[in-house]
């Protein structure tokens, strides 16, 4: 359709008119909006600026209460206590130096602390509160609260801070919390806003670290009205967060305490396990440290003292510590040989005191030799030659396979820091690691738990529990999470011939209960608690030919850190096993003298549920045991009853 020129002209005129009107309308709108801007931003700017600066409503986070950790009886291991502290907000304070100077007249702050603090205040955002001091006494706190109006930007408040009422007893297992560091923040993708709260505490070690996400809880929010100095005038509303989940561990606080006390000053580690369920009842590394020191921020000298101590209090020897298991490994070798069918249960080997293999002489610990030995006797008297002999027949790969089957040299899934895998060497491993072929001598060393074999006390406890029950018991540390029972891990049958296992148990019983057994001095005479076990002594040095020629010097004459490790593994009662124990005393000397007596006492404590009765000990030892028991400083369950309700 062709539009007439007249109509087109009319349309154009119409549109021009209306377009210009639209332009005029636009100009009017621009004027209205511009005037409004002018009014708000130029005429009322001062008012609004004041409102913005003293913006009366602020949102503050409420840190959630961290989840509590209890022992198997419900006794508090990690709780929260009230912490009086004082924070400063740069923006509200104005002249920070003057405010801090005023504050120093109320609470003691050293020059160093002040300098550090001023530095931190400058580094943080002007609106972020910075903690000046915490764990103030009530007096200091109220002194600041009273003077608060004269101290702009200063806020006294009450927070919760972590406390470990059991002190060092659980230091390695439960770990500790500490302030969030920049490094921590870098590690976390999309960190919880809570972590930006100054001095917010985060699990750094052990269960505190492994269960961090669950223990932390969710933050709540508070809407508060504040005045221009940033001081809260009133609360307008709050939305509660969620506290962290509570954990109940399988550990028994009294046994844990007893184990620590009994190991005393030794550099040692003990693991006590329920052989049926796998529950760990005690897992104690000695010496320990006080986790509360870390919560408060450990001082330089204290930290140096811990670092420089040659007994390594910071290391968790129970799961991180790896030791040659020594003779406690002999059950592994024997079971491997039996299972492979290379020896018969009644097989005997003659021990002349050494064994010559490809021109090298391997000594038994008893230079004179044991004579003819059967399997049970070889365990009882810990004859080395017996194992040199059978190990050559079965080969290293089968021995190490048996080790893993018994829970040695596998990484157990426990919520603790740096759980070590240990090492059960194989031919392929050595080729891989050192590029060298496996030698017979390596097998001989491994057969008695020396050489390349490395195990943690946890491994040895699991091994003992598995031998005692014939089931693949798995260690468990957390009993329930927020009241919900953690399922017991499956313990399938080990699938070893019952006859073979029984042989091991009889051998282990002979170690303790037979007159010639290496741990006979540590027997339990109470019939219902009879113990079975195995001693181990692992060398940390090579005895050179020259030394041997001079006559091997006894441990006592050596410097501490070159002495042998003493080990003991055991379980009780013999006929109806309940608890297994493994104990390593670093550089303690022989397993029978250094480890077995301590292990017996801890095992008895577990069986009896308290300080063991003297009647359980051989009569000749009772006097000495009594003295020992009296000297131990244990926690008194009665004074601790308050701990239950403390949250």
């Amino acid at each position: 359709m062709r539009r007439s020129a007249r109509k087109a002209q009319e349309s154009s005129r119409q549109i021009t008119r209306r377009g210009l009107m639209l332009g005029a309308a636009q100009a009017a709108m621009v004027a209205v909006l511009g005037l409004r801007m002018r009014k708000m931003q130029l005429e009322q700017a001062e008012e609004f600026r004041l409102l913005a600066d003293g913006n009366s409503v602020k949102i503050r986070l409420i840190p959630p209460a961290r989840g509590l950790i209890h022992d198997r009886n419900g006794v508090l291991i990690a709780g929260n206590e009230q912490n009086y502290r004082v924070t400063i907000t740069r923006e509200d304070a104005g002249d920070v130096d003057t405010v801090i100077a005023d504050l120093r007249r109320l609470i003691p702050l050293s020059d160093d602390q002040t300098a550090e603090l001023l530095e931190e205040i400058r580094r943080r955002a002007p609106t972020a509160p910075v903690t000046i001091a915490d764990r103030l006494s009530w007096e200091e706190f109220s002194r600041i609260a009273v003077n608060a109006p004269a101290l702009p930007g200063i806020t006294p408040d009450v927070g919760l801070s972590r406390a470990y009422p059991q002190g060092p007893d659980f230091a390695h297992v439960v770990g500790y919390v500490g302030p969030v560091s920049d490094y921590d923040l870098g590690q976390i993708e999309n960190p919880d806003p809570l972590l930006h709260i100054p001095k917010f505490q985060l699990g750094k070690l052990g269960i505190e670290a492994k269960f961090e996400d669950q223990l932390r809880g969710r933050a709540g929010q508070r809407r508060v009205e504040v005045n221009s100095a940033g001081r809260e005038m009133r609360e307008l509303g709050r939305q509660m967060g969620e506290p962290g989940v509570n954990l109940q561990l399988t550990l028994d606080y009294r046994l844990q305490n007893y184990a620590a006390a009994r190991m005393g000053e030794e550099s040692a580690a003990a693991v006590v396990m329920d052989v049926q369920t796998g529950d760990l009842l005690a897992i104690s590394s000695s010496p320990a440290f006080d986790p509360n020191l870390f919560v408060r921020g450990i001082s330089g000298p204290d930290y140096r003292a811990l670092m420089e101590n040659d007994h390594r209090p910071l290391a968790d020897k129970t799961v991180q510590g790896l030791y040659p298991p020594g003779s406690t490994y002999k059950m592994v070798t024997a079971l491997a040989a039996l299972e492979a069918g290379v020896i018969k249960p009644g097989e005997t080997v003659y021990c002349p005191g050494h064994l010559e293999v490809s021109g090298r002489r391997f000594h038994c610990w008893k230079r004179a030799g044991h004579g003819r030995m059967d399997l049970i006797q070889s365990l009882e008297q810990s004859c080395d030659v017996y194992y040199y002999d059978i190990a050559q027949r079965v080969g290293i790969d089968k021995i190490s396979e048996m080790a893993r089957r018994l829970g040695v040299a596998v990484r157990h899934d426990l919520p603790m820091s740096a759980v070590a895998e240990g090492l059960a060497p194989t031919r392929a491993w050595k080729q891989d690691r050192y590029g060298q072929a496996w030698r017979v001598g390596d097998t001989i060393n491994a057969s008695i738990g020396q050489g390349y074999v490395l195990t943690s006390p946890l491994h040895l406890a699991v091994m003992t529990a598995r031998i005692a029950t014939g089931k693949a018991v798995v260690p468990r540390l957390v009993r329930s999470i927020d009241g919900v029972e953690v399922a017991l891990p499956d313990a399938p049958d080990l699938d070893l011939q019952p006859g073979f296992l029984d042989l091991m148990r009889r051998g282990m019983s002979a170690v303790v209960n037979s007159r010639r057994g290496t741990a006979n001095g540590s027997r339990i005479v109470a019939a219902e608690w009879t113990m079975a076990g195995k001693t181990g002594t692992s060398q940390v040095r090579n005895i050179t030919a020259a030394e041997r020629a001079r006559g091997v010097i006894s441990n006592d004459q050596l410097p501490w850190n070159r002495r042998d490790h003493g080990l003991f593994v055991g379980y009780a009662p013999y006929d109806n096993p309940r608890y297994a124990i493994s104990l390593v005393v670093e550089h303690g000397g022989g397993g029978s003298s250094a480890a077995a007596p301590v292990a017996r006492d801890i095992l008895l404590f577990a069986l009896h549920g308290g300080v063991p009765p003297l009647a359980a000990y051989p009569e000749s030892q009772r006097g000495r045991i009594k003295t020992l028991q009296d000297s131990l400083q244990l926690i008194d369950p009665d004074t601790l009853s308050g701990g239950r309700s403390r949250a």
Partner: protein, 379 residues
């Protein structure tokens, strides 16, 4: 054959069209969008990935789409206007049936990897439809009641669908956008006067309907009106947003607090700081100078659209150019008036600056139509 097609030989062809684009408008659009990136970067606390980067990508994509649309002759767009309108209408029905629900309203349609907001498309489709209608209609009939009733129906149909989502902001935009096209097409001013009077009556009856069984608005919408009239009545609830927005705006002063220095947005006092309320952050950080400059940029876009339309003898081109330019400016006016407390809070983003994919893409494509009209104008 239309007047326009009769003059085909004078229209630039091929890549030479680039030289005939309305470059001032392109530069202005880019300037506004860059302001948007800057503000999105600022409200994200100095983080590019949160909002600014996706927005930049969409802007790039939108510019390409705009050029593609611009290169297609305007008569093609006139011919498909009705189709675009019908498609947009069907999509609105589809969103009603299958749409996603976000923030209590049904607005999104999921098509493959894309999330489409049909109501955004309708804002442009309606302008194109009405422009095509008036191009077809004999000029002398423009103000006859029957011929006025048809465009009114074309406006009210999608408006009703959008209102049902419910999205009051977009409904108002549709009515205003459609109204502008009718206005520039030359519908008698008496109609507009009548509608304004009727509107006043409607507002009165809406307010009266509150609490009665035939209540015409949602409760939250009534509350917004309440808080608009007196923000202080509910400083922690709905009024909180308005008060905080005004504090942010006002505290900007003459030159603002400086880029990334606005305490209101930094401290999370501002609601919807990356969408509807983004203008407050601009006003806080760049003050009166920044806020007024942005307003002028928008005003210049419409000014150049008017210039282009007045020099265009093709009726469809002129109407569609004025319609799209005018609609853009109305959106800007509504958003700014809202954050400055001149009108109640309705969901209305600031075009090209607020974070949002569909809106930006469609707006740029609409400007593609404006460019096409400019390039292919009869000479």
């Amino acid at each position: 054959m239309s007047y326009l097609e009769a003059n085909l030989k004078t229209v630039p062809t091929g890549l030479r069209k680039v030289l005939y684009l309305n470059w001032p408008v392109i530069i202005l659009l880019t300037a506004v969008a860059c302001t948007g990136f800057l503000m999105l970067y600022s409200v994200a606390g100095g983080n590019l990935q949160t909002w600014a980067e996706p927005q930049m990508k969409r802007f790039g994509l939108g510019m390409v789409a705009m050029l593609v649309v611009a290169f297609v002759p305007i008569w093609f767009w006139r011919n498909v206007s009705a189709l675009v309108y019908v498609v947009a209408l069907l999509l609105l029905v589809a969103v009603e049936l299958f749409g996603d629900i976000g923030m209590g309203a049904q607005r999104w349609l999921e098509i493959g990897p894309f999330r489409l907001q049909p109501s955004e498309l309708m804002k442009v489709a309606l302008v194109m439809m009405l422009a095509a209608y008036y191009d077809w209609l004999d000029v002398s009939r423009t103000s006859r009641p029957l011929w006025v009733a048809i465009p009114v129906a074309l406006i009210l149909l999608p408006t009703a669908l959008v209102l049902k989502q419910p999205d009051l902001g977009t409904s108002i935009m549709l009515i205003l956008g459609g109204g502008i096209v009718m206005f520039v097409a030359g519908v008698s001013l008496w109609y507009f006067a009548t509608v304004l009077a009727a509107g006043a009556g409607l507002i009165f009856s809406v307010l009266q309907s509150r609490g009665t069984p035939w209540q015409l608005l949602h409760d939250y919408q009534f509350r917004r009106i309440d808080t608009f009239l007196d923000p202080g009545s509910d400083p922690l609830g709905a009024g909180y947003n308005i008060m905080q927005a005004q504090i942010a705006l006002g505290s900007g002063g003459w030159a603002g607090r400086g880029f990334m220095q606005g305490t209101q947005s930094r401290l999370n006092f501002l609601p919807e700081k990356h969408t509807d309320f983004i203008f407050t952050t601009l006003a806080e950080e760049f003050g009166f100078v920044g806020a007024f400059s942005l307003l002028m940029l928008y005003a210049l876009i419409l000014a150049f659209c008017i210039l282009s339309a007045l020099s265009n003898r093709d009726r469809y081109s002129a109407i569609v150019t004025l319609g799209i330019g005018g609609t853009l400016f109305v959106f800007v006016t509504v958003n700014m008036a809202m954050v400055m407390g001149l009108i109640p809070v309705v969901g209305a983003p600031l075009p090209l600056v607020s974070y949002g994919g569909t809106a930006m893409m469609i707006l740029l494509m609409a400007f593609g139509v404006v460019q096409s009209a400019h390039v292919h104008r009869p000479r």
